[in-house]
């Protein structure tokens, strides 16, 4: 110990095209934009990062391990736009050193609004992962690491997971360190892995910031920090967006070089090792139970839901979306249901955030809209059209018994 546990989140939403209230076309998505972005990120991030990780795994002969969670919506886009990325993930799966996690297929906030829908999406995701990578996920993470006691209870009741990931937020840990395995309050079997946000964000956010006191961050320096956990922690959970490697941190910051040298620096200390989340859950007992009555997440400084639900537009949009659930499912129309599910991606609501509108920062860089108002208007127009399709179905379509 400590065991380094890397987890990379891999996701792209299916972005909407410009949709006015006068539009009647039932195709809501901007295929051109989505395909362009998918290929761009593939070239800047997914392909070079996957190749690098693959190389490192082979070089260190099983000692270097990582884990991923790839959303269903992105897996679909890889099929359409960049199948070569799938082959690299395939190769990674074959190494035996890569674990795939489960999440909601559509990267949704469905846990907050419909447990039925949430469970459906998780199952669908697990089936998809099994299909592509031959692995049955045993570790779960919710969209944007959104978590509370209720989520843990629900996951435990599904009886197919060993552990769940979330943010090591200060206000739930108190004096305790995220570098141990915990147990969710009220659970018996499930284990809780908490992100070490300080060390994770050093790589994911601060890496290229020249004003940072620790810039430049070398693999050696980082390995030393990790090594300091020795004796006062079992695990260092480094959870981050995969786009850190090449997109959030561009290649010229030296991020790939950093990763290239990291395993050897870490493994220089014989006490250190790399583990996947399942291995961590298996190797270490939980040291305490953690009570999280109110929702936390890994987003922004607040680490709560304000990035997606902080203003009236966001709450309204998401509320209207889930209000349609029964109607949508009643149509039994695959296309309508799939469209509705693609609209559930948390990104759509993220774009409507007015929190940091004044400061150009991470929110804006990945926002396809000029303003949060434009994204709300667009989303609501699409939702309006989707709703009208349901009514048409109800009037003209045949009545089927629910499956």
């Amino acid at each position: 110990m400590p065991s380094i546990c890397f987890y990379f989140q891999v996701h792209q939403p299916v972005r909407l095209r410009h949709y006015t209230v006068f539009d009647e076309n039932e195709h809501y998505f901007d295929d051109h934009k989505n395909s362009t972005i998918c290929r761009k990120v593939a070239n800047k991030c997914y392909l070079p990062a996957n190749r690098l990780i693959l190389d490192l795994i082979r070089r260190f002969d099983g000692k270097f391990k990582v884990s991923y969670s790839i959303t269903g919506t992105l897996l679909e886009q890889f099929q359409h736009y960049s199948p070569e990325v799938m082959s690299t993930f395939d190769a990674l799966a074959q190494t035996g050193c890569v674990e795939f996690l489960a999440e909601t297929y559509y990267h949704s906030l469905s846990f907050l609004y419909s447990h039925e829908e949430f469970i459906d999406q998780v199952h669908k995701h697990m089936e998809t992962v099994k299909y592509y990578f031959g692995q049955a996920p045993r570790v779960f993470r919710n969209t944007e690491l959104i978590y509370n006691n209720d989520l843990a209870a629900l996951i435990e009741s599904m009886d197919c997971f060993d552990a769940i990931l979330t943010e090591g937020a200060d206000h739930i840990l108190g004096y305790r360190s995220p570098n141990f395995v915990y147990q969710p309050k009220g659970c018996n079997k499930l284990k809780l892995l908490l992100k070490n946000y300080a060390l994770s964000d050093d790589i994911a956010f601060r890496f290229s910031n020249r004003d940072w006191a620790q810039w430049p961050l070398t693999a050696e320096k980082f390995a030393n920090w990790v090594g300091n956990v020795n004796g006062c922690g079992n695990v260092v959970n480094l959870f981050m967006d995969y786009e850190t490697f090449g997109e959030h941190q561009w290649e010229d910051t030296g991020i790939f070089n950093f990763v290239r040298h990291l395993p050897e620096e870490i493994l220089k200390h014989p006490d250190n090792n790399f583990k996947t989340p399942s291995e961590v859950a298996e190797s270490y007992d939980s040291v305490d139970s953690v009570d999280v009555p109110h929702i936390i997440s890994w987003a922004d400084t607040e680490r709560d839901l304000s990035a997606w639900l902080g203003n009236a537009m966001q709450s309204n949009a998401i509320h209207e979306l889930y209000r349609l659930e029964k109607k949508i499912k009643k149509t039994n129309n695959e296309k309508i249901i799939a469209d509705w599910r693609k609209l559930q991606a948390s990104d759509h609501f993220y774009y409507m955030c007015t929190k940091y509108f004044a400061d150009g920062d991470v929110h804006k860089y990945f926002n396809p809209y000029d303003s949060p108002y434009d994204s709300y208007i667009n989303f609501m127009n699409v939702l309006g059209n989707l709703h009208s399709r349901c009514s048409d179905q109800a009037i003209g379509g045949e009545v089927c018994s629910t499956p």
Binding site: T20, V21, F22, A312, N316, Y373, Y376, M380
Partner: protein, 429 residues
């Protein structure tokens, strides 16, 4: 700091953005303790006897200046002239003719035209000549007065600014509130363009109301960038109003266009968008508040589009009526073709009305909590109008954030920036 300012109007006789801006800036400078001699064209000097506190008694020869009670450091010096904001050579000529006609009605038809012109000044029937005559009179006024800087607002006062600066040896700042390209599109009036350009070349410093306008000054007038600074216009809350609704119960939504009804402001785009909106929403009325050379054409157009019964024309509004119309509006739309700044959206936001503004405007550089469109994109304008009227959360968020945003766009910041520019100009090289 003493400023010799060549401006336009002051309340309650404000006819548009230019007057509002001059007044707003001067008032803020007054509050900063700067002393301003404010020269403005006025037809009838006695018009203000009831509205202002006279500084010196009215006399035919010497100094007919006056002050306003709440502007301690500003001295107003009117010059008899028919020049008005937004004048064109044609409108000016019509004005002279109209004035003559009225005098003839008063005195009978036997008196010669020459003696019909009032006061002792000879108004010229030609606007350009009048502009230069104004300059002469201004230079005379400036004689024997002490000031540090000359500040001229809008093209008609540029020759006056040049004259005063030359006579006094003080530096000249010209303030570009609009250019011929904004007012007349590509068919610019060459004479006016020449006057604008000369003003820009002779000035020591140029202030524009937006980067949008600054770019025009640099690219269309050949001026060097380091001579041009941007000072955004502002808005000041004109006192608090009661929080309760004014008792106007309305079932219908009201979409407001407020401004001069002229080509520059895009009235036809407003009406085309209105038609699209009315195609899918019924309980909405469109109000055009203002007057201008396209007003009649707009009334015709509304009728031609078949929406005449849904479009109301209020004519020119001032004072309390402006507040009232903002209170009734659910949305304010500014589809300007080319707007150097655009103060009205700020006033709308100040009155809790969400706004849709043209991207081809200076104010879109400073506002974030506003919906923005390309002026020609009628479909998108209509799309956004429907969205605001249909979705209360959208309206609420725009209103509260927008209202908060305008609080940092105050005239005192503009005045402070002008003061800084003056100081840089006066600093020994």
């Amino acid at each position: 700091m003493k400023v010799f300012m060549l401006g336009w109007e002051f309340p309650p006789f404000i006819s548009g953005g230019l007057g509002t801006a001059c007044y707003g800036l001067t008032r803020a400078m007054d509050q900063l303790g700067m002393e301003v001699t404010f020269v403005l064209p006025k037809m009838v000097a006695g018009q203000y006897a009831t509205h202002v506190k006279l500084l010196t008694p009215q006399s035919k020869a010497s100094d007919p200046s006056f002050a306003l009670a709440d502007l301690k450091n500003v001295k107003f010096c009117p010059i008899g002239s028919l020049l008005q904001p937004y004048s064109t050579p044609e409108t000016y000529h019509r004005q002279i003719e109209e004035t003559l006609r009225q005098k003839q009605l008063l005195h009978g038809g036997k008196i010669s035209s020459a003696s019909l012109l009032m006061d002792s000044s000879d108004y010229s029937t030609d606007m350009y000549v009048e502009v230069y005559r104004y300059a002469e009179v201004a230079a005379e006024l400036a004689f024997n007065r002490q000031f540090d800087i000359v500040h001229a607002h809008d093209w008609m006062t540029y020759p006056a600014g040049i004259a005063v600066a030359a006579a006094s040896g003080r530096p000249l700042v010209i303030h570009v509130h609009s250019t011929e390209f904004d007012r007349s599109g590509e068919h610019v009036n060459q004479t006016i363009y020449d006057i604008e350009r000369e003003g820009m070349e002779r000035a020591d410093k140029i202030i524009t109301v937006s980067h949008y306008t600054r770019n025009i000054v640099i690219s269309r007038y050949g001026i060097s960038g380091d001579k041009v600074e941007v000072v955004y216009n502002g808005v000041d809350r004109c006192g608090s109003w009661p929080l309760d609704e004014s008792g106007i119960k309305k079932d219908e939504k009201i979409v407001l266009f407020l401004g001069r009804i002229t080509m520059q402001k895009g009235p036809e785009y407003f009406l085309q968008a209105a038609k699209k909106v009315l195609g899918i929403m019924d309980n909405v009325k469109f109000v055009m508040a203002g007057s201008g050379d396209m007003m009649h054409r707009s009334i015709e157009m509304a009728a031609e589009l078949g929406i005449g019964h849904k479009v109301l024309f209020t004519g020119f509004l001032r004072g309390e009526d402006v507040q009232k119309i903002y209170k009734m509006a659910d949305l304010y739309v500014m589809p300007s073709v080319s707007e150097p700044f655009g103060i009205a959206p700020l006033e709308a936001l100040d009155n809790d009305v969400p706004v849709i503004i043209s991207k081809q405007s200076g104010v879109s550089e400073v506002l974030m909590h506003a919906l923005k469109v390309d002026f020609w994109d009628i479909n998108e304008i209509a799309n956004k109008i429907v969205a605001v009227l249909k979705f209360p959360p959208l309206q609420m968020t725009l209103r509260s954030h927008g209202n908060f945003e305008v609080r940092r766009l105050r005239w005192r910041d503009a005045a402070a920036k002008c003061a800084r520019i003056y100081e840089e100009m006066l600093a020994p090289v």
